[in-house]
């Protein structure tokens, strides 16, 4: 049976510069030294970590993070802000893109194949999770984990996942800038209604270490491999130290200005089914995040499906309409049509403000 490396760190919480520099070393160990795939499981100190090309000033209330002693940093993979801490499982995974056990047919196929291992692990807790395109793992319509990735060198891939084991949702609206900041109550419920945790779904308090064990077994079963405990070699450790200094302790990296413009806007219309409100974050030309709210009837699962279909789509009328129609079914939102939604989104875009 093929063997993959496992770096499992449970002895203490990792600082952002420690954890992220080890993660970045994984694909480099594969690319430069021909290492087998490496899974890194650990926990961070309380921290807020933005995506590689995210505007950190637009994403986070930096002063508030300092007051609350929440570390801030920037990871090397894509996507938005993740809030990490003792109750969130941090996962880094390095693998060659051409590895036969990865479905490399498309970006989505690669995300799906890594998701399968996480979904398998969650089954241990009786949780029926599934992949929600484009990058999330959901349980009954609520997000439990998100995946992001980056290619390093020619063929190596790094994946990042944060899996919510238990979580204080209140912290999100306290330190993140979102289109919902002006509506604290609604902002909180919008987040909490769309997120869930392993503890919530399994109906008992679950420890992160239990989840680590389940996830590593999920990897073994899904990819038909054995994982053996490992640590960074001397050569790998020197790469991690260099990355720690050049990236994760370097203000130029953390506060980088290489990112698309971040904007947000709100769109409201009165439709037959009631008031429809759209809270939109734009990253350059595409939708980064969207919250659909209002006094209409629908399910969280359907709302999440709609919102996910619109993420990372160019915010232009036809593309928005196409994305909505791709997941639409009759009465998905009672009394609201795809046209109403498209119109409200375009109004939100027109009302955009720079963050």
């Amino acid at each position: 049976m093929e063997s993959w490396r496992l770096i499992q760190e449970t002895e203490r919480l990792k600082t952002t510069w420690e954890g992220l520099s080890v993660d970045d070393t994984l694909p480099l160990a594969i690319e430069r030294f021909g290492s087998p795939p490496i899974l890194h499981l650990y926990k961070f100190v309380p921290s807020a970590i933005v995506g590689r090309y995210q505007d950190i000033f637009a994403a986070l209330k930096i002063e508030r993070c300092k007051v609350l002693n929440i570390e801030i940093n920037r990871r090397s993979t894509g996507g938005g802000t993740v809030i990490m801490g003792p109750e969130v499982l941090a996962l880094g995974f390095g693998i060659n893109v051409d590895h036969p056990r990865i479905n490399s047919g498309s970006v989505e196929a690669i995300f799906r194949s890594v998701s399968r291992a996480l979904i398998e692990g969650l089954r241990t807790f009786g949780i029926a999770a599934y992949f929600r395109p484009k990058n999330d793992i959901e349980v009954k319509g609520k997000k439990i984990a998100g995946l992001s990735a980056a290619m390093e060198g020619k063929k190596a891939l790094l994946f990042h996942t944060s899996l919510l084991v238990s979580f204080d949702m209140g912290i999100l609206t306290e330190i993140m800038n979102t289109p919902l900041i002006k509506l604290q109550d609604k902002g909180y419920s919008c987040f909490s209604e769309r997120l869930t945790t392993v503890s919530t779904e399994s109906g008992r308090r679950v420890e992160v270490e239990e989840v680590m064990d389940a996830i590593l077994k999920g990897f073994e079963k899904t990819f038909s491999v054995g994982l053996y405990h490992s640590s960074l070699s001397e050569e790998e450790r020197s790469i991690a130290s260099k990355l720690e200094k050049e990236r994760y302790k370097n203000p130029e990296w953390i506060f980088s200005h290489r990112h698309p413009r971040a904007r947000m806007g709100i769109g409201r219309i009165k439709a037959t089914g009631g008031l429809l409100e759209i809270y939109l974050s734009l990253l350059g030309a595409v939708i980064e995040n969207i919250y659909i709210t209002g006094d209409f009837f629908t399910t969280t699962e359907d709302l999440n499906k709609l919102e996910s279909s619109l993420k990372y789509v160019r915010c232009e009328e036809n593309k928005v309409r196409d994305a909505i129609i791709s997941v639409w079914k009759p009465n998905l939102i009672y009394g609201i049509t795809p046209e109403d939604l498209t119109k409200a989104i375009i109004i939100a875009k027109e009302n955009q403000l720079r963050l």
Binding site: N103, A150, K154, V286, Y312, R314
Partner: protein
């Protein structure tokens, strides 16, 4: 303009296996990403490019491209010095999706060894065979995922 299995792959361009294209313009080479890439990747969020004057090497990563939460690579099809960058991509990188061979061009390289390096790139029938392989690979992977 050649249409290969539904993908536009213009005949006058050279291609590498990392889905970038090269258009020879005298001693310079204009570079972008193919129709196949842009459809596969989805709408582009950001393009992180080298600076003008930077040296790039054939087959090496010279930039990063984000779509969804995925950061992919731009591999230089030829070696040389970066002569020009498409500044319009700063405001709207989805030009790569909308017009991959036109307004979505990414950079121009003053090539240093064009004649010998063009031999390492694909053109004509080789492109067709390459796309066929890529489609087959994607289909096999999709079947595996089910």
């Amino acid at each position: 303009m050649a249409n290969i299995f539904g993908y536009e792959m213009p005949d006058d361009l050279y291609y590498n296996e990392e889905h970038s294209w090269a258009k020879v313009e005298g001693s310079k080479v204009r570079v972008g990403m193919t129709d196949f890439f842009q459809r596969e990747a989805g709408d582009i969020v950001f393009v992180d490019l080298p600076d003008e004057g930077d040296e790039v090497t054939q087959g090496e990563v010279c930039g990063k491209i984000q779509s969804r939460k995925w950061i992919g690579k731009l591999v230089s099809p030829v070696s040389g010095e970066v002569a020009e960058l498409n500044e319009d991509l700063e405001d709207d990188p989805t030009l790569i999706n909308q017009d991959p061979y036109g307004k979505g061009w990414i950079l121009v390289i003053e090539a240093s060894d064009l004649d010998s390096e063009l031999k390492n790139l694909m053109q004509g029938e080789a492109v067709k065979a390459f796309i066929e392989r890529e489609i087959k690979k994607a289909e096999e992977e999709k079947a595996k995922a089910k």
